[in-house]
Amino acid sequence: MTIQIAKSAPKTGTELSHNNTAKKSKSFMRAALPPVIVMVIFLVGWSVVASTIYGNRNYLLPRPEQVLQAILDNPGTLWQGIRITFFEATAGFVLAILVGFAGAIIMSQSKMLERSLYPYAVLLQTVPVVAVAPIIVLWFGYNQSAVIVIAFMISVFPILNNTLLGLLSTDRNHRDLFRMHKASRTTEFLQLRLPSALPNIFAGLRVSAGLAVVGAIVGEFIIGSGGEEGGLGVKVLFAQSRLATGLLFAEVLAATLLGFFFFLIVTLVGNRLIKRWHESALKDDA
């Protein structure tokens, strides 16, 4: 059964690209302007509160210019912290993807497997990471491995849960179609179940991306490995002990932006992949 799509008369090449660029920049401005306005309002508000109510207590709430000064005075420290936390978060995230995918694929193969293993997957989510940190340290030592394990533990469940949901939500009619053509299990998995699960998979990945950064920071905070060469979490401890509140805020900001960056990357990759699938599906029909 082919799907008919009504198409209007095609415009000329240059007209099309011109319109497209104009449309794209206009829509970008429309999307970017409101958050930028909110940020400006926020910065003004912060500056006013820090200068008046907290005027002589900037060790509690530094002014924006003090945070900026801290960034300008400590570029090396901040960059090193970002690099190390980025490495630990990425490693934890990759581990979470591998284990999450593997677990979801296994559980999607049979209802029995799902029922037996899913409760333990939930336990991975609910175990209080801060409380088991001493055990993790006992097994992995006071080093980056332990931090990566903590980042993994905090970010694995959304991936596992959403991938499983996606794999179990394949359209029955499509599955019957594949069975009618005597497709093997592998073919059905690679050509149907996995691609149709992509939206769900990326929803899980987006949540876990931010969590991986949170996990790395929490791990660093608890373990404190690396000392002066540690990640952002460790550097926060140093700033705290030296009462360098401006630097502390700068490091927290860096950590937040790192999480945001992870989220952005995953969203962009996801959009790219899903668009391709949809496009190729349409192209085949036409």
Partner: protein, 325 residues
């Protein structure tokens, strides 16, 4: 005639001015039973023998006759006494002198009002098998410590570039398991407990072997409390000094208060710690008094690690004005 009038005018003006100031200072009510006040003192760790003088003062309430109730609160790993007292969460707190100077330099309006330890109890313990007999020997080892100016100084002064720093957990289990680990400690409780666990250790005193000796666990408060309630400060300082003196003579009262606050305290450890404090004369000969040259030396040491400018005036950070005459 005119001179008489002028003198008379000046005299009356003087009387009016004096009575005005008298009214002003009378704004802070005098301490008395009819005007009960509570002073909270925040400890920087779980209740332990090393805080003995303060807990003795809580047990005995030396300020009762003037209506002052002392409330000593135990701290723990997350507690930061200096920002918390500065923010008004407690009236008084305890800290080390180096933390006080760094805080002052960063604008926190706190001031040290009474000393406790004249010789700091801080030390580093290592496994005897590692053969660490001086601070440079820490290179090549993992060191468990709380991030603090004292360790920044040790790192810089003894060129400890080969040291791996990790967070201090207070647990002996990690130390026992890992012979490469060096752990921060007090020469009192921690050294005793390590020996009880059968671990052979070498101890390096930060004050004696490291040459870094800030006044330890001193009593501090905010400038606001000093200005508005000087009598209360005087009473709390007096109580804490009496508490330390009684703790040296007989640690039983302090022990009662400490064990009530912290169920995990081992009585044997407490007794051993109290004995070391007394026998080693860690509180010094005139408990409570600050010597300004000690603060200047500390300022110079902190300047070498860029935590305070070399020109910083340390006299703003402490005062002997509230000591009993």
């Amino acid at each position: 005639m005119r001179t008489k009038m002028i003198v008379g005018a000046i005299a009356s003006a003087a009387v009016i001015a004096l009575s005005a100031t008298a009214c002003g200072s009378a704004a802070s009510p005098a301490l008395s039973m009819s005007n009960p006040q509570t002073a909270t003192v925040m400890m920087n760790w779980f209740a332990q023998a090393e805080q003995g003088g303060y807990w003795d003062a809580m047990q005995n309430q030396y300020g009762k006759a003037s209506g002052v109730t002392l409330n000593v609160k135990q701290g723990g790993p997350g507690i930061q006494t200096i920002p918390q007292v500065a923010a008004g969460q407690a009236d008084f707190g305890i800290a080390n002198a180096d933390e006080i100077i760094v805080a002052r330099k960063n604008g926190l309006p706190i001031v040290a009002v009474a000393a406790a330890y004249d010789t700091n109890l801080q030390c580093m313990m290592s496994h005897k098998s590692e053969g660490i007999t001086d601070f440079p020997g820490l290179n090549g080892h993992q060191v468990s410590r709380v991030p603090s100016p004292y360790f920044d100084f040790l790192k810089s002064h003894f060129k400890l570039t080969g040291v791996e720093e990790i967070n201090y957990t207070g647990s002996l289990a990690d130390f026992k398991r890992n012979t490469n680990l060096v752990q921060q400690c007090f020469v009192t409780s921690d050294v005793y407990q390590a020996k009880q666990e059968g671990i052979d250790i070498n101890v390096l005193s930060v004050a004696k072997d490291g040459g870094y000796n800030p006044y330890g666990l001193l009593l501090f408060t905010t400038e606001k409390v000093v200005k508005e309630k000087p009598d209360l400060v005087r009473s709390v300082v007096d109580s804490s000094i009496k508490g330390w003196k009684n703790f040296l003579a007989n640690p039983t009262d302090a022990k009662t208060a400490v064990m009530a606050a912290n169920k995990d305290v081992d009585p044997g450890t407490f007794d051993a710690a109290a004995k070391v404090i007394k026998d080693g004369n860690y509180l010094g000969d005139s408990i409570g008094t600050f010597k300004s040259d000690r603060w200047t030396t500390l300022r110079d040491q902190l300047a070498t690690i860029n935590q305070v400018p070399a020109s910083f005036d340390p006299s703003v950070a402490f005062t002997n004005d509230f000591l009993p005459k």
